[in-house]
Point group: C2
Chain length 197, copies 2
DNA sequence: ACACAAAGTGACCGATCGTGCTCTTTCGTT
DNA sequence: AACGAAAGAGCACGATCGGTCACTTTGTGT
């Protein structure tokens, strides 16, 4: 039962890459099969259907995100250290591992946000958990902790800068995007951690 | 030569809607034809090929954006009034006209950002013009006008909040997204229009 | 080592894709 | 009213899509 899991994860990895490039619906079973050196029918020994593979793709992308962005930050002391690490890693993970295709989670979000169904629900639920985790760390930026509303406002801006960075860098070709995002986030951190009035 | 143009714009309108939903590549010629009450071959009297229609879709989406978001703001006095109007209309245009499908320009951006070619170039160029226009208005927030770098940093955050709003509202189902975006933008405006030190 | 399940192949199916072709209807111009 | 051009219909094509089936190869547990 080992060979199977290995090739399955190779398939899913390739499918995630293609999904980030052309969207989930644009992933061709034949192309994925050829890219991993299999026949089309060979793929169907690992997935019941195309939708089954879609589910695996969404899961794998989120797992990878959690392990690359969240997990290393969670190993740091709570509060500011974690928040900063999350942002730094979040910013970079699109540029390193996904430099040629763009962040798969962003692509999935835009594609699924207007397609109600179990896939969107699953994606939303896992992103919601991430958001809750990060928001909790943001609350610790001050002592006593920030109110929920303030922490959520800060998270909104934090994620906005991530999205803005991806747009500026990938769509507009702005080579300063990383600096802009980092500067905006740093200022946000300063504003948030200092007392309001 | 009138009937033709009328149906052509009906076709393009429908194609833009479907492109916002399923992506450019996901727009089926048959579906568009059926939706506007035509036969598939009837479509080909208006477009040379599918890529020709893609081009028309991108053009139409940008034209619509310019007329809905930029044009009314450009009629206002320069500076703060224009900037505020652009943001307000930008925020709303995704929720009103495109409430069921999401902003087509955002969908096109995410889809085309990793697909080099004339389509991406065209989209990038027109978005760049919009960005330049808005940035120029931002510079007028202060007297003497802001430096380019500061105005661009403000634009980066402004667009980030737009993107963040779309993500929060459409993907995460956050009903407070509009308030969050508006509040973040207002604070940004305050920070930017007051003297730095 | 042997047997059985898992992994993988190749041929094939019906549906749909984008795109030509010929033919008819409808419109705009004089 | 009439005529040429534009608009649109109907059909058929090759390619590709997701998916099935019977078969062979490979791996694995005992």
């Amino acid at each position: 039962m080992k060979k199977g899991e290995a090739t399955k994860s190779r398939i899913v990895d390739e499918a995630v890459r293609q999904a980030a490039l052309r969207g989930l619906a644009g992933v061709s079973l034949s192309d994925v099969a050829e890219a991993v050196g299999l026949s089309k029918s060979g793929l169907f020994k690992h997935f019941e259907s195309k939708e089954d593979m879609h589910r695996a793709v969404v899961e794998a992308a989120l797992d990878h995100f959690r392990e690359t962005v969240w997990a290393p930050a969670a190993a740091l002391p709570p509060g500011r250290a974690r928040v900063e690490e999350v942002f730094r890693r979040w910013l970079h993970w699109g540029e390193t591992r996904w430099s040629a295709s763009g962040c798969p989670i962003m692509a999935l979000s835009v594609e699924l946000d207007d397609q109600p169904g179990p896939l969107k629900d699953y994606l939303q639920q896992r992103l919601q958990r991430f958001r809750t985790n990060v928001t909790n760390e943001i609350r610790l930026l001050r002592d006593p902790p920030l109110a929920d509303a303030e922490a959520q406002a800060a998270y909104f801006q934090m994620k906005s800068f991530i999205l803005g960075h991806a747009d500026a860098r990938r769509m507009m070709g702005d080579t300063d995007a990383e600096r802009s995002a980092a500067a905006a986030f740093e200022a946000l951190l300063e504003r948030t951690s200092k007392v309001a009035a």
